[in-house]
C-alpha cells in the first residue's frame, strides 16, 4: 500500500487552515460596499397579513431599502420549487402550494419571513427590522403531526385537510394475507422525534450584482452550489444560469440542512440588483432554529407478522409524516422514496406495505437531515424486530440471524436490489466486540448496585450513493443524480482536481487526493482538490446521501482513467511503441516486458510542450472530465449494539458501551471513516437521549429555539465508541465503496432505545428518553 494512497490513515490536508484560523466561511467574507440584511419574521404560527407598514423603519439611520412579499410578487417572482414529485395512491399529484420567498397574504410558521430590511450596518438593519409594523390577524395553528389531517384550520387553501399526499408502496393485499395467517403479529406505535440539524456554522449568504457584466455572485453556506444555482436561476428568479456564480466556500457543517434552496439567499440575490450593492446575511442561532429545515417528525404504527419460528412473513407500516408549512427542496422524497424502500432492512420479509400520509402544519419546513428517511425506516424495522424477539421469547440476535438476507443480489419487495453484504458477519463481529455473551453477568452485577442494565441491537441498512438518475427519475425526481469531476494535469505533472461534491467536514480534500495520488502514482501533495464554486467546477450535484465518494469519487476515478489512457498514447509516441504495449504503474509509463519507460511528469510536460508529439492524431493538453451516473444505490449495512445502565431513582441513562460494526465497502482513509461514524453516532444518540424540537400545541411557538432549551450533545454526554468495519466491496462502482456519512445516525437510535426499553422492561419510551420519561416509565411499570 502506498503510504498516502488508498487505505492509508492520512492526516487531513485541510486541517492546517482550520486549525490556524485561516478557514474562509461565508461570514468571514466581506465585500466592498456591502450592506447587511435583517429579516422581519412572523411571530405567529399562522396569521393573515393585512399590511406591512415600513415607512418609519425606512426613515431610520442607515436603511438602504425595505422589501416585502408584495414587492417580490410585483416583479413576477414565483415561489421556491420542490425537487421531487410524489403521487398519491389514487394517482393524483402531491399538493404543492406556493412557497413565496417573502410571505404575501399569510404567514405560516413562526419565523416565516415577511419582509427584509437592508442597511449600512447589521445593527441598523436589525433595529429597523424591529420597527417594521406588520398588521396580522392571528389564525388557529395546526401543530400536531398525528392530528393535522383532522384539524379545523388549514395551512394552505389548496390542501384543506392539510394532506400533501397519501402515498402507498408495496403489496397491501399480500401483507394483509400474511397478517391474517400469522402465528404471531407484533405491533408497535412509535414517534420519530423532530430534530434541528444545528450545524455550528449558521446559514449565511452574501450576494453581489455586477452591473458591468450583468451578473451575480452568491457566497452561500451550502452543500451543492450547482443545484442552488440551477434552482434559483431557472425555477425562481429567471436569471440566465451563466450570469450567476455560486460559491460555497468553507462550510461549517451541513447534515442535510444546507442542501436546500432557502428563501433568504434568494431574496438577497433578487435585492442585490435593486440596491446595487452586495448584501450580507448571517442567521443568528434562534433564526437557525426557526428557519433551517428540520428533520424526521414521523408518527408510525408497524405490524410484523411471523411464523412459529420467528420468521418474518409480512410487515405493514402506516406513517404520518410532518412536512411543515411548505414543501422544502427534497421534503416530499424523504418520507417516501428514501424511507419505505428501506423497510425490508436486512431481512427476507417477503411482503411489505407502507402507507405514508404527509401533512402540512404551521411549523418549520421538514426536509433531509443526516440519513433522511433511512433513520426513520431503521427505527421502525429495528424497534419492531426487537419487539418481536421479546414477544417470541427469542434472543434478539437469533431472531435477526433467522431472517437475514444471505444471498446476493437480492431484490426486496420494496423496490431495491441489494448488490452485496454480509449481515451475519457484521452481527457476529459486533456481538464479539460488545461481549454480548457476558451481558447476563454484567446485568446481574449491576443489579447488586441497584442499577438496571439493558442491551439493544440494531442491524441497519441504508441506500446511499444517490442515485441512478433513471431510477430516481422514474420515482419522481426532477433532477439527475450523477456527479461530475475534472482532472487537470499541469505541465509539471502536478494535478488539480475539480469535483462537484462539496466537503463541509468530510475531508474530501484528503480522501479524493488519496485516490488520485494512488492511481497516478504521485505524492498526495502534488494533488489539490477544488470544490464549491460554480465558476471553477464544471458541474455538480453536491454532497448528501453519503454520495460523495461513491458517486463523486467515481467520476474522478473515471477522469483519471481518461488521463492515463491519453498518457499511454503520448508515452507510446515517446517510446516508439504501440499504444497497446504501454503499461502504467507507480507513476511510470512503460513498454510492457522492457525497461523502456517515461515518468508521468514527462508525459504531462510533453502534452503541454508538444514538440515531439503525435499532433496529427492527438490534441495537446492533459485535462479530462468525467460524469458518473451510478447503476444502483450502494447499501452500507451493519450492526450497532448499545448497553446502558439506568438509575431507577432518577431515570438517568448512562451508555456503558456502544459498539458499531459497519460495512462501508472498501475504505480509502480509515481515520476519516471512523470520524464520520463517531459523528453520526453522536447525532443518533442525541436524537434518542437529548434532542427534540418542541412546539406549543396551541400557539405553534417553537419552545426549543435556543441552546438553553434544545439539548445538544456535549462532550460529557457521550461515551467513547467502539467502532470496527467488515468489508464487502460494492460491486458496481470502480472504487468498491458504499459511503459512511450517515450510518451512525441511522443505526444508533434503535440500538439505544432497544437497550433502554430492555433495561426498564417496557415496550416503548418516546425519544428523547430523558430522565423524566424513563423515570415515569419505571413508575408505570411498578
Amino acid at each position: 500500500m502506498k503510504a498516502d494512497g488508498i487505505g492509508a490513515r492520512v492526516t487531513r490536508k485541510e486541517d492546517h487552515r482550520f486549525l490556524t484560523g485561516n478557514g474562509q466561511y461565508t461570514d468571514d467574507i466581506s465585500l466592498p460596499r456591502q450592506t447587511y440584511a435583517a429579516f422581519v419574521r412572523s411571530p405567529h404560527a399562522h396569521a393573515k397579513i393585512n399590511g406591512v407598514d415600513s415607512a418609519s423603519a425606512a426613515a431610520m439611520p442607515g436603511v438602504v431599502a425595505i422589501f416585502t412579499g408584495k414587492d417580490i410578487a410585483a416583479s413576477g417572482i414565483g415561489g421556491l420549487p420542490c425537487g421531487w414529485l410524489i403521487h398519491s395512491k389514487d394517482g393524483t399529484p402531491m399538493k404543492e402550494p406556493p412557497h413565496h420567498i417573502l410571505a404575501v397574504d399569510k404567514a405560516r410558521y413562526v419565523g416565516d419571513q415577511v419582509a427584509v430590511v437592508i442597511a449600512e450596518t447589521l445593527e441598523q438593519a436589525r433595529a429597523a427590522a424591529e420597527a417594521v409594523s406588520v398588521d396580522y390577524d392571528v389564525l388557529p395553528a395546526v401543530v400536531d403531526t398525528a392530528t393535522a389531517s383532522k384539524a379545523k384550520a388549514s395551512v394552505h387553501d389548496a390542501a384543506a385537510d392539510n394532506v400533501c399526499y397519501v402515498w402507498g408502496h408495496g403489496d397491501a393485499a399480500a401483507v394483509d394475507k400474511a397478517i391474517a395467517s400469522a402465528h404471531h403479529v407484533s405491533s408497535l406505535d412509535i414517534v420519530n422525534n423532530r430534530l434541528a440539524p444545528n450545524a455550528i456554522e449558521p446559514r449565511a449568504a452574501n450576494a453581489a450584482y455586477d452591473k458591468s457584466s450583468d451578473s451575480y455572485t452568491l457566497y452561500v453556506s451550502n452543500q451543492n452550489p450547482h443545484v442552488e444555482r440551477l434552482l434559483m436561476c431557472a425555477f425562481v428568479l429567471g436569471i440566465p444560469e451563466h450570469k450567476m456564480r455560486v460559491i460555497a466556500p468553507d462550510v461549517g457543517g451541513g447534515f442535510g440542512s444546507k442542501i436546500f434552496l432557502y428563501a433568504e439567499e434568494t431574496v438577497l440575490v433578487w435585492a442585490s440588483k435593486r440596491v446595487g450593492r452586495p448584501i450580507k446575511w448571517t442567521a443568528d442561532r434562534m433564526e437557525a432554529f426557526l428557519s433551517d429545515a428540520h428533520g424526521r417528525d414521523h408518527v408510525t404504527n408497524v405490524q410484523l407478522a411471523m411464523d412459529a419460528n420467528g420468521k418474518f412473513t409480512g410487515m405493514k407500516v402506516t406513517t404520518t409524516a410532518n412536512v411543515g408549512a411548505y414543501l422544502s427542496t427534497f421534503a416530499s422524497s424523504v418520507p417516501t422514496i428514501l424511507y419505505a424502500t428501506l423497510l425490508a432492512g436486512q431481512y427476507t420479509t417477503p411482503a411489505i406495505y407502507a402507507e405514508v400520509t404527509a401533512v402540512f402544519t404551521n411549523t418549520s419546513p421538514v426536509d433531509a437531515y443526516r440519513g433522511a428517511g433511512r433513520p426513520e425506516a431503521t427505527y421502525v424495522v429495528e424497534r419492531i424486530v426487537e419487539t418481536a424477539a421479546r414477544d417470541m421469547k427469542l434472543d434478539p440476535a437469533e431472531i435477526r440471524r433467522r431472517n437475514f438476507i444471505t444471498t446476493f443480489p437480492y431484490a426486496t419487495p420494496v423496490g431495491l436490489t441489494y448488490d452485496i453484504g454480509d449481515y451475519p458477519a457484521c452481527l457476529d463481529k459486533a456481538l464479539k466486540l460488545a461481549d454480548y455473551a457476558g451481558f447476563p453477568a454484567r446485568q446481574a452485577e449491576a443489579k447488586t448496585r441497584g442499577k438496571l442494565r439493558g442491551i439493544g441491537l440494531s442491524s441497519y441498512i441504508e441506500a446511499c450513493g444517490l442515485a441512478p438518475s433513471n431510477v430516481a427519475g422514474a420515482l419522481g425526481a426532477r433532477a439527475g443524480l450523477f456527479e461530475a469531476g475534472e482532472v487537470r494535469v499541469h505541465p509539471t505533472g502536478k494535478v488539480t482536481v475539480f469535483t462537484g461534491s462539496h466537503s463541509h467536514g468530510q475531508g474530501h480534500e484528503t480522501t479524493f487526493a488519496q485516490v488520485v495520488a494512488d492511481k497516478l502514482g504521485i505524492p498526495i501533495d502534488d494533488v489539490d482538490i477544488q470544490h464549491g464554486d460554480t465558476g471553477k467546477v464544471l458541474f455538480g450535484m453536491g454532497t448528501y446521501g453519503s454520495r460523495s465518494l461513491a458517486v463523486g469519487g467515481s467520476a474522478i476515478f473515471k477522469a483519471v482513467d481518461k488521463v492515463i489512457a491519453k498518457g499511454k498514447k503520448i508515452a507510446a509516441h515517446l517510446l516508439e511503441a504501440a499504444d497497446t504495449d504501454i503499461e502504467f504503474k507507480d507513476g511510470v509509463f512503460k513498454v510492457a516486458g522492457t525497461d523502456k519507460n517515461v515518468p508521468f511528469a514527462n508525459v504531462a510536460l510533453t502534452a503541454y510542450v508538444p514538440h515531439n508529439y503525435p499532433l496529427d492524431k492527438l490534441e495537446p493538453g492533459l485535462n479530462e472530465n468525467a460524469f458518473y451516473d451510478p447503476t444502483n444505490f450502494t447499501y452500507p449495512a451493519g450492526t450497532h449494539i448499545c448497553e446502558v445502565e439506568v438509575d431507577p431513582d432518577t431515570g438517568k441513562t448512562q451508555i456503558v458501551n456502544f459498539t458499531a460494526v459497519d460495512d462501508f465497502g472498501n475504505i480509502i482513509n480509515p481515520m476519516i471513516v471512523e470520524g464520520q461514524v463517531h459523528g453520526g453516532l453522536a447525532q443518533g444518540i442525541g436524537q434518542a437521549l437529548l434532542e427534540g424540537c418542541v412546539y406549543d400545541s396551541e400557539s405553534g411557538q417553537l419552545l426549543t429555539a435556543t441552546y438553553m432549551d434544545y439539548a445538544m450533545p456535549r462532550a460529557d454526554d457521550l461515551p467513547n465508541f467502539q467502532v470496527a468495519t467488515h468489508v464487502t466491496p460494492c460491486t458496481h462502482n470502480p472504487l468498491g465503496v458504499k459511503g459512511c456519512g450517515e450510518a451512525g445516525a441511522i443505526g444508533s437510535p434503535a440500538a439505544l432505545m432497544n437497550a433502554i426499553t430492555h433495561a426498564v422492561g417496557v415496550k416503548d419510551i418516546a425519544m428523547p428518553a430523558t430522565s423524566e420519561r424513563v423515570w415515569r416509565a419505571l413508575q408505570g411499570r411498578a
Binding site: 492526516t11 484560523g21 456554522e201
Partner: protein, 154 residues
C-alpha cells in the same frame, strides 16, 4: 456612544474608537478582520468564539470589547509560531482527527489550551467536563478528547 479601546491582540497593540456596544468577538472579527474566531450562537453556549483574555478562556460573544480594554487577548491566529509551526495542541488536533468542518475548532483549541495550565494531566472524563462549554456537531467528541489528551502531554 463611542469609546476608545486599547488592547494587545496576539502580541500586537491595537487602539480603536468603537461603539460602546461592540462585542469583543465583533471587534476581533470585523475591526481587526481576524476571522478565525467564530460565532455559532451569540449566547455563550456553543463556545466557537472562545479566545484568551489575560490567559483565561472566555467566550468573546459575551464580553464587550470595552471590557477587554488594556487586556492581552490571544485568538486562534496567535497560537502558531511565526514560521507557521502549529502549537502542540493544534498539531494534536490534526494528528488525532479532532476536527471535521473546522467551525468549532478554534474555540475548542483555545479551551483546550487553557486546560494545559489548569489540569495538565486531565483524564478523559475531566477533559469531557472541561469541554462542556464547547459544542461540536461533527466529531462526536471522541477524537477531540484524544487530541486534547495528546496536546496536554506534548
Amino acid at each position: 456612544m463611542t469609546v476608545n479601546v486599547t488592547m494587545k491582540v496576539n502580541g500586537q497593540s491595537v487602539t480603536a474608537a468603537i461603539a460602546a456596544s461592540t462585542l469583543l468577538v465583533d471587534f476581533i472579527r470585523e475591526h481587526l478582520r481576524l476571522t478565525g474566531t467564530h460565532v455559532g450562537c451569540n449566547t455563550a453556549q456553543c463556545g466557537a468564539c472562545t479566545v484568551h483574555v489575560n490567559g483565561r478562556a472566555v467566550k468573546s460573544c459575551n464580553l464587550l470589547a470595552a471590557q477587554a480594554n488594556g487586556a492581552e487577548v490571544t485568538t486562534i491566529e496567535g497560537l502558531a509560531a511565526a514560521d507557521g509551526t502549529m502549537h502542540p495542541m493544534q498539531a494534536a488536533f490534526k494528528e488525532h482527527h479532532g476536527l471535521q468542518c473546522g467551525f468549532c475548532t478554534p474555540g475548542m483549541v483555545m479551551s483546550a489550551c487553557e486546560l494545559k495550565g489548569k489540569l495538565p494531566n486531565a483524564t478523559d472524563e475531566q477533559i469531557r467536563e472541561a469541554l462542556d462549554g464547547n459544542m461540536c456537531r461533527c466529531t462526536g467528541y471522541q477524537n477531540i478528547v484524544k487530541a486534547v489528551k495528546a496536546g496536554l502531554a506534548a
